[in-house]
């Protein structure tokens, strides 16, 4: 019985909610630290820092494994949450005509499923805007930083042939199929001639997305900010709740867990939201 109990029972479902939820909290911290590079450095330096970070995130094997765990956690957290919600609705087929829940519980704690659904909608649009372009469509242009023999032929360094962004030292065939990408380096296919080095320019994609020149940027910034407020409410209850579900409830640690949870719920979404707002205001 114990084997199935760890998957099917009502308490086990809560363990999984808590474990995936807390894992996703650590993911939020990592994601936030990366995003902060969008505003910590400006100009070319910021562009390079962010693009290098994006490259690292896409190619480091450890991060890759983590990213699959993250996708799985999001899906599991959502599916498990939906299952729990359906069961909970079934547990009370007839509702009260008069109910006063605010007398005994906090608003976020009662709205977790709705908040979670809104976050899922946000994640879908967020991934469509950035992740899809970067990982699936792969149409984020390359941005080069280092040109071989740049000093000798500076004029040519400004020429762009490839994806309109890569300056090269020698005229290249317009046919982009003759260029081979190897990590951040570009070669002429079938030869060892390195013609440039670059990163996918996710930085520009993000900046343009939230800049005033983009007609839907204001909507994007507003949607992002509202989503972060929703995330904040979700975390306001979720962070400390995860510990309770895992059985961590102790007079000595409860105040710390509650304070950490509330601090996390305010600071993390706030820092996330500041980034697109600043990009918009500065543009």
């Amino acid at each position: 019985m114990s084997n199935s109990a760890l998957i099917k029972s009502s308490i086990a479902k809560k363990y999984w909610m808590a474990l995936t939820g807390l894992f996703l909290c650590t993911f939020l911290v990592g994601h936030l630290l990366g995003n902060l590079q969008l505003i910590m450095k400006t100009g070319e330096e910021g562009r390079r820092a962010f693009n290098e970070y994006a490259y690292f995130m896409g190619h480091n094997i450890f991060i890759k494994v983590l990213s699959y765990v993250t996708y799985a956690s999001i899906l599991f957290h959502a599916v498990d949450g939906i299952m729990l919600t359906i069961q909970n609705k079934k547990a009370r087929p007839v509702n009260y005509a008069y109910s006063n829940p605010s007398a005994n519980s906090s608003l976020p704690s009662r709205w977790m499923a709705v908040l979670g659904t809104l976050i899922l909608v946000f994640i879908a649009t967020h991934m469509a805007n950035f992740w899809w372009k970067m990982k699936i469509k792969e149409d984020v242009p390359l941005h080069t930083y280092k040109i071989e023999s740049e000093q000798q032929i500076p004029a040519l360094a400004q020429q762009t042939f490839y994806y309109t962004h890569v300056p090269t030292i020698q005229p290249l065939p317009k046919d982009e199929n003759s260029i081979m990408e190897k990590g951040t380096e570009l070669f002429i296919k079938g030869s060892n001639i390195k013609i440039g080095e670059g990163y996918r320019d996710l930085h520009t994609v993000v900046i343009q997305f939230f800049s005033k020149s983009n007609s839907s940027a204001l909507f994007g910034v507003l949607f992002y900010t509202i989503s972060m407020i929703v995330l904040g409410f979700h975390l306001w209850h979720g962070f400390a709740s995860a510990f309770q579900s895992l059985g961590v409830n102790h007079a000595k640690w409860n105040p710390l867990i509650k304070a950490l949870g509330k601090g996390f719920a305010v600071i993390v979404p706030l820092l996330f939201a500041i980034i697109p707002i600043l990009i918009y205001l500065k543009s």
Binding site: A5, S10, I11, L84, Q87, N88, A91, R92, Y98, N249
Partner: protein, 255 residues
Amino acid sequence: MAAKTINITLKIWRQKNNKTKGSLETYKLDNVSTDSSFLEMLDQLNEQLINEQKDPVAFDHDCREGICGMCSLYINGRAHGPDTGTTTCQLHMRMFNDGDTIYVEPWRSVAFPIVKDLVVDRSSFDRIQQAGGFVSVNTSGRTMDANAIPIPKADADKAFEAAACIGCGACVATCKNGSAMLFVGAKVSQYALLPQGKVEAKDRVLNMVRQMDEEGFGNCTNTGACEVECPKGISIENIARMNREFLKASLTSEK
């Protein structure tokens, strides 16, 4: 303080039995003493209904001193009404004002089917208890001295606080998920904390949780509403303890 009387309007759930649909009926009740308990007020209403040759309202009650766990009622959107730490029988009409409209509904849970009007069948709690909420003792007559086993005072106190649960079902009624985890958490805790209960701790938590799920109770989402509405002030610390016990038992039990 001199007793005063109030006139109230009651909206009470009337339902013939589990097969029929119920509805809220409106009753006017005058000259209710503010010193009367909520149940005495319902007695007064029933006298009025009987005098009018109408079917009196069925509601559960027994000891009327807050210890038997029989009384229930969801009053103005709250289990056992607006007062804290009290059962409905301990709720007094002084908590209400003249001219108030008071909603009275039965506990709402798939595991507490309505018997009639405000009476629900809470035998699902009994079945959870029977699944493991006990300590097996032999009854040979050679009873052990209760004080022979040393128990830390703090543990004894916590076990006693958990054992204060009267099984009224307010936790289920108030939980937005209709979850029984405060009840089961309290029952699991009161034994898990004591050496006598530790012998059967693994089977107990696994069996009681399985029975709880089979009865159709919902899942805990840690809103904390149950501990606020519990007339005995049982803490959700007991739910956390049950979660720990369940994890331990699931991982190590050979069953």
